[in-house]
């Protein structure tokens, strides 16, 4: 039983981490708590579903389509909401509230078009094979989610550290004004960040929709709440923190179900989270002062 619960925790942690990566990127660079990330995540799942069902695309192509569409939404999100508010130097709460509105609009549009009921990917498209190891079962999909969470974090970290554009992003996160003096196209980098975060969210949406076997308009909401917790725990804006935070929450939830009881799950998991924040108020990888705050 322990082996199985360990695997359950790893795969659930992978799901949370995957979601949290894009979420934390927007915060780290744009300094915005993007509450539309859950809706973008949901849109990714619906886009891939349509690509598979209507256009009969293979799965990898459907994921690419989903990333294209959510990337475009990320562009729109910055163009319509973040950029105008940046230009007016609105306080932090303004873009956060605006993203709530954006999320509601997106949710309602999808619900109006597809209805509120659950949909699922056709069975043939799903990698359903189960891998049996002594004492436990894991599906290939779960394995892929975990691996992908690590790979994406690696790519993001590498990109931020080693590429010119990554340098620009980090410079921007440090101080937009200084970055502008250095000749960095500040607005362009902001927009690019929003696009990358959104397409990561879209990819997470597709994979997690496969994992849960359910696509529905409000699917982004519960995971958004968990995502916020993960990102705060990891240290707002930190990639390694998002990954570690995701796994922490996964393990906390699964092992509280295993050893305390499922009705106490959220109480135990979030209690632990609170305890850690008492010890490290800025999260596992957070720095003492948020530069934007």
């Amino acid at each position: 039983m322990f082996a199985q619960q360990f695997i359950n925790a790893v795969s659930l942690g992978g799901v949370y981490a995957l979601f949290a990566l894009g979420f934390t990127l927007v915060f780290g660079v744009l300094g915005v708590v993007n509450l539309a990330h859950g809706a973008v995540f949901m849109l990714g799942a619906y886009s891939a579903l349509q690509a598979v069902v209507l256009l009969e695309m293979p799965l990898p192509a459907a994921i690419l389509i989903a990333m294209l569409i959510t990337g475009a939404i990320g562009w729109l999100l910055d163009k319509l909401i973040f950029a105008p508010l940046r230009a007016r130097q609105a306080p932090h709460l303004a873009p956060m509230i605006a993203t709530i509105g954006f999320a509601i609009a997106l949710n309602s549009a999808i619900e109006g078009y597809f209805g509120a009921q659950n949909l699922r990917f056709p069975l043939e498209t799903l990698p359903v094979q189960t891998l049996s190891i002594p004492g436990a079962q894991i599906t290939w999909l779960e394995l892929e989610i975990v691996v992908l969470a690590f790979v994406l974090m690696g790519v993001l970290l590498w990109g931020l550290r080693r590429t010119r554009i990554g340098c620009a992003v980090r410079g921007l996160a440090e101080s937009p004004r200084a970055a502008a003096f250095l000749g960095i196209n500040v607005e362009g980098v902001f927009r690019l960040t929003s696009v990358i975060a959104a397409l990561l969210g879209g990819a997470a949406g597709v994979l997690i929709a496969f994992y849960t076997n359910a696509v529905f308009p409000s699917m982004g909401q519960p995971i958004l709440h968990k995502g916020i917790a993960v990102v705060i725990l990891g240290g707002m804006g930190d990639m390694r923190g998002a990954l570690l935070g995701g796994f922490f929450l996964g393990f906390a939830e699964v092992f509280s179900v295993a050893y305390v009881g499922s009705s106490m799950r959220d109480a135990v998991a979030f209690g632990l989270l609170f305890a850690i924040l008492l010890l490290r108020p800025h999260g596992l990888f957070g720095t003492a002062v948020q530069r934007h705050a």
Binding site: M1, Q4, Q5, N8, A9, S11, L12, V15, A116, Q117, N118, R120, L123, T130, S132, Q137, T139, I208, Y211, T212, N213, A214, F216, S218, M219, Q221, P222, I223, E253, V254, V257, A258, S262, S263, R265, D266
Partner: protein, 383 residues
């Protein structure tokens, strides 16, 4: 002056009686959710009523009098249900009325009918306590409280299960109340529970709970969930190598399970007042007529509405309407409780319940649930 008064009264009376006596029709009200989220139930309900009325009128009506439906859309909302009830009772002056679609609305609107001493007949309200509102409140919808023990008993007999694990959604009124009813039934049947696990709406994984359940080595899993969570639960259980039977409540009684849990949907036990597979002649006749009229398959809600109209017609046959609304409404109420009928949902009669004050109140359904098990993407009747 006095004469004038008398004339006016006579004219007014003539107008009042006109719909009943003049047109020789019996007006029956229907308040159903025809738009909004609950329309998925309300629309088949309306079709079931209309089909029954066409058939009854086609074979000469009730004692030579035609039935006339007055239909109101209550949108699945409490306020609209109350408005619809008021309009049907006071303005349209219906003899009796059917509806509303949701239990939630019935709690609010049925007291209006009770106060106006007009029979209200629910065909889809399954929550506890609806009929304890008063003695003018009837329903033919079978409650989960009645269905779940039958489902459990049948599954226990057929599979020989000795002990079960329980899994339910603890943040939803419907699945929580399903759990309460299951728990009571398990106690009554003296079936030990190895583990009780919960989940919440929007959970992405159910494997931790299922792993716990697996460790307790039960013979079956009792599941109070809606299909939205229930389907992924069945899929993930099969992934973990748990091939046990699932015993579900009304929330799991939906053909959508075959789509949402494709290839993992076998061995789910549910109880239902109606089944498309039920081979009785009444049911076959109903399904054929419904398909001919609407070019689609009926569901449980259409079947219950269809039967309810026939039950009402049976009661109406027994009474002589005198054209005085108040007296006629009371006559309907007095005739209904003893009415029996065998329709698409099988043999049916009423049972009186007690109200909150301990006095006899309205009437619930007495009807045997049909227990079904899923196999190869369809329901197979077990008894």
């Amino acid at each position: 002056m006095k004469v004038k008064h008398a004339v006016l009264t006579a004219i007014a009376l003539a107008f009042l009686l006109c719909p009943v006596v003049g047109a020789a029709q019996i007006k029956i009200g229907v308040a159903a959710a025809l738009t909004g989220n609950a329309a998925q139930y309300g629309v088949p309900i309306r079709k079931g009523f209309e089909l029954a009325v066409r058939e009854i009128n086609g074979s000469g009506g009730v004692g030579g009098t035609r039935l006339e439906l007055v239909i109101e859309d209550e949108q699945g909302k409490k306020e609209e249900a109350i408005n619809s009830f008021r309009k049907l009772i006071f303005q349209d002056k219906v003899l009796m009325l059917f509806g509303p679609t949701l239990s939630n609305s019935a709690q609010a609107s049925d007291p209006v009918a009770q106060a106006a001493k007009t029979v209200v007949f629910g065909t889809s309200n399954t929550a506890d306590g609806i009929t304890s509102i008063g003695d003018y409140v009837f329903r033919n919808s079978v409650t989960e409280r009645d269905i779940l023990p039958v489902t459990l008993q049948s599954a226990a007999q057929k599979t020989g299960l000795k002990r079960v694990a329980v899994l339910y959604g603890n943040d939803d009124i419907f699945t929580k109340s399903g759990y309460d009813n299951f728990k009571k039934a398990l106690q009554d049947l003296k079936i030990p529970v190895t583990a009780t696990e919960t989940f919440a709406k929007g959970d992405v994984g159910f494997k931790p709970q299922l792993t716990n359940i697996k460790a307790g080595n039960p013979d079956a899993i009792v599941l109070s969930a809606l299909v939205a969570e229930g389907a992924p639960i069945m899929v993930q259980a099969r992934q973990l190598g748990i091939d046990l039977p699932f015993i579900g409540g009304n929330g799991m009684n939906s053909p959508r399970i075959f789509e949402l849990a494709k290839n993992s949907s076998d061995n789910l036990w549910v109880g239902s007042p109606w089944s498309v597979e039920s081979p009785t002649p009444e049911n076959k006749q109903f399904i054929a007529a419904y398909q001919k009229a609407y070019q689609e398959m009926p569901d449980q809600f259409a079947a219950q509405a269809y039967d309810a109209m026939y039950i009402a017609a049976q009661a109406l046959k027994k009474i002589k309407l005198i054209g005085k609304l108040e007296a006629d409404r009371k006559a309907v109420r007095d005739a209904l409780p003893a009415t029996q009928w065998t329709g698409a949902t099988g043999p049916f009669r009423f049972r009186q319940v007690t109200g909150r004050d301990g006095k006899p109140a309205g009437y619930d359904a007495v009807q045997t649930a049909i227990v079904m098990m899923t196999k190869g993407n369809r329901y197979v009747i077990q008894k």
